[in-house]
């Protein structure tokens, strides 16, 4: 697989002035097929709430096809296990509100200190509403979730373990097997936040063994404005709806209220039709990639970056220094220099990084850091991108100290 070939498929690299884009964990660039599919759907459209004219049948069909494509991408047992949401955050809130409604005071939800705010704050809020007990898995010094603590932290009252599949700060991939085993032992459900995982290859939700899997389209080469909540078959059937409105009801009156079956029950209102169609195209494209080769290329870039950073005596890595069970997301501190200043200087040299606490305040608190600079690699990045970062960092150290 040649990177140049891949790049040619991204409109971003055809623009006059593409930068060294290394902020992929914030959002990826969009794939040509996703953009084309979205624009095509929008150009000539109808709502998907089933009317018998040609255009409406076509929209309903395209939306259904997108659901099937995403289902194949995560290897769902059935397309109806896929619910389209407006993003990973909305998917996580859906679980916190809907599954949360089935919990009682004293029930426990176990998260980790590595969670993005989108899988942390909804549980804080649920605790405020219902009095659940929220427990937090600690981190190892390199940022990995300390799954060894599962034994003591998963009690009989545990109803859900909700953890990230991959950290958006450290790149560490969670030991899902350990999490699922611990949950199963007490009959708890498992939610995985896959927002940083799926852009590095299709997942197999059946093999993972979780009950809920959430991710965003815009981080995996699809459009903004849409995300996915996959749920194991049978689980959604027993859950109350979250957002309510058109398209998700059975009978509605002041006295009666019943709901449609999933996935409709969880897709109130007009869904992000064109965005889902775009995501479906992105997912279908990803299914065609030689992922072993992609991983080899991404890992080589990751190694190049880690090796380069190791030559700076004032740089401290936040996250695993090895290449095992981690993805190419690299956060680091520079002693005495604020991440925003690093990002600014690099930005002036057209290297796109992100600085701050990356919506993960609990992680930074746990690791004793006030913030970090992050570089995150996607399948279209190349050695020149990494080298521009390393050169730029050298320059930044001169400018800023």
């Amino acid at each position: 697989m040649s990177i140049a070939e891949l790049r040619g498929q991204f409109p971003f690299y055809a623009t006059a002035n593409p930068c060294h884009y290394l902020d992929n964990a914030a959002t990826s660039q969009i794939h040509r097929q996703a953009l084309t599919a979205m624009a095509g759907q929008e150009s000539c459209r109808a709502n998907v709430h089933r009317s018998p004219y040609r255009l409406a049948e076509a929209s309903s069909h395209a939306y259904g096809e997108a659901r099937a494509q995403v289902a194949r991408f995560v290897n769902a047992a059935a397309a109806d296990e896929v619910v389209f949401t407006s993003g990973a955050t909305a998917a996580l809130n859906l679980v916190a509100y809907s599954f949360g409604e089935t919990l009682q005071a004293g029930d426990e939800v176990l998260i980790s200190a590595a969670e993005h705010h989108s899988n942390f704050v909804p549980w804080l809020r649920l605790r405020q509403r219902t009095g659940i007990r929220l427990r937090v898995l600690p981190l190892l010094p390199d940022g990995r979730i300390a799954t060894a603590s599962l034994a003591e932290m998963v009690t009989e009252r545990c109803r859900l373990i909700a953890v990230t599949h991959c950290s958006n700060v450290t790149g560490a991939v969670t030991d899902v097997h350990a999490v699922v085993a611990a949950a199963r032992a007490v009959g708890a459900k498992v939610l995985l936040d896959g927002a940083q995982q799926v852009q590095h290859g299709p997942v197999d939700v059946q093999k993972l063994g979780a009950d809920f899997y959430a991710f965003s389209s815009h981080k995996c080469f699809g459009p903004t404005g849409v995300g996915v909540l996959w749920t194991r078959g049978g689980v959604l059937e027993r859950l109350p709806p979250f957002l309510t409105g058109g398209g998700m009801v059975g009978l509605v009156s002041l006295e009666t209220l019943s709901f449609a079956s999933p996935p409709a029950r969880f897709e109130a209102g007009t869904p992000p039709v064109a965005q889902a169609v775009g995501l479906g195209a992105a997912a279908a494209w990803m299914m065609t990639l030689p992922w072993a080769e992609v991983h080899r290329v991404e890992s080589a870039l990751l190694a190049r970056l880690l090796d380069g950073l190791a030559t700076f005596p004032t740089v401290r890595l936040i996250g695993p220094a090895d290449l095992e069970a981690r993805l190419p997301i690299v956060s680091f501190e520079v002693r005495g220099i604020h991440p925003h200043d690093v990002c600014q200087v690099l930005g002036e040299r057209e290297v796109a990084l992100r600085g701050g606490n990356h919506c993960a305040q609990p992680l930074f608190a746990a690791l004793g850091s006030a913030g970090a600079t992050r570089a995150s690699i996607a399948l279209y990045n190349d050695a020149a991108d990494v080298d521009a970062l390393l050169d730029g960092l050298e320059h930044a150290l001169k400018v800023l100290s």
């Binding site: 409406a56 049948e57 309903s60 009801v249 059975g250 009978l251």
Partner: protein, 142 residues
């Protein structure tokens, strides 16, 4: 798109409304709603031995649904629950995957043009599903 959906045969079936009306002493009953259109079918079934002996349905629905209900009313009596399950499967197969109808269920052919309109599949299937549901309650009672 394919031929027009409203062939004379469909209109004739709907008008005939075979099996419409309330059935006394049913062995099984069902009520199915299609909330999107506000359609509803109440269906009752009586069994004699291993076969359906009578069907009664009250159908407030579109022409397609009424035609399908009429076909259920016409064909179910004398047939076994298994045969009627085959009918439902054959109908669904024809609509969604262009499957060829088995010889015993050529009568379903009138609904073939509906295949082109997935939004209407539910209208045609509803009476068959209602029958299945009623038969299931009857089986439950035994």
């Amino acid at each position: 798109m394919s031929a027009t959906v409203y062939q004379q045969a469909i209109k004739t079936l709907a008008e005939a409304a075979h099996g419409s009306g309330r059935l006394e002493d049913p062995d099984g009953t069902s009520r199915l709603d299609n909330p999107l259109c506000g359609d509803r079918i109440d269906l009752a079934v009586r069994l004699a031995g291993d076969a359906v002996s009578a069907v009664g349905h009250e159908t407030r629905a579109c022409l397609l649904c009424r035609a399908a209900a009429s076909l259920v009313g016409l064909t179910a009596p004398g047939r076994s629950p298994g045969e009627m399950a085959d009918a439902a499967a054959a109908l669904e197969g024809m609509l969604t995957s262009a499957a060829v109808l088995p010889p015993a269920w050529q009568a379903l052919e009138v609904f073939a043009p509906v295949a082109a309109y997935p939004s209407r599949h539910g209208c045609v299937l509803l009476p068959f599903q209602a029958l299945q549901a009623a038969l299931a309650t009857a089986a439950g009672k035994r």
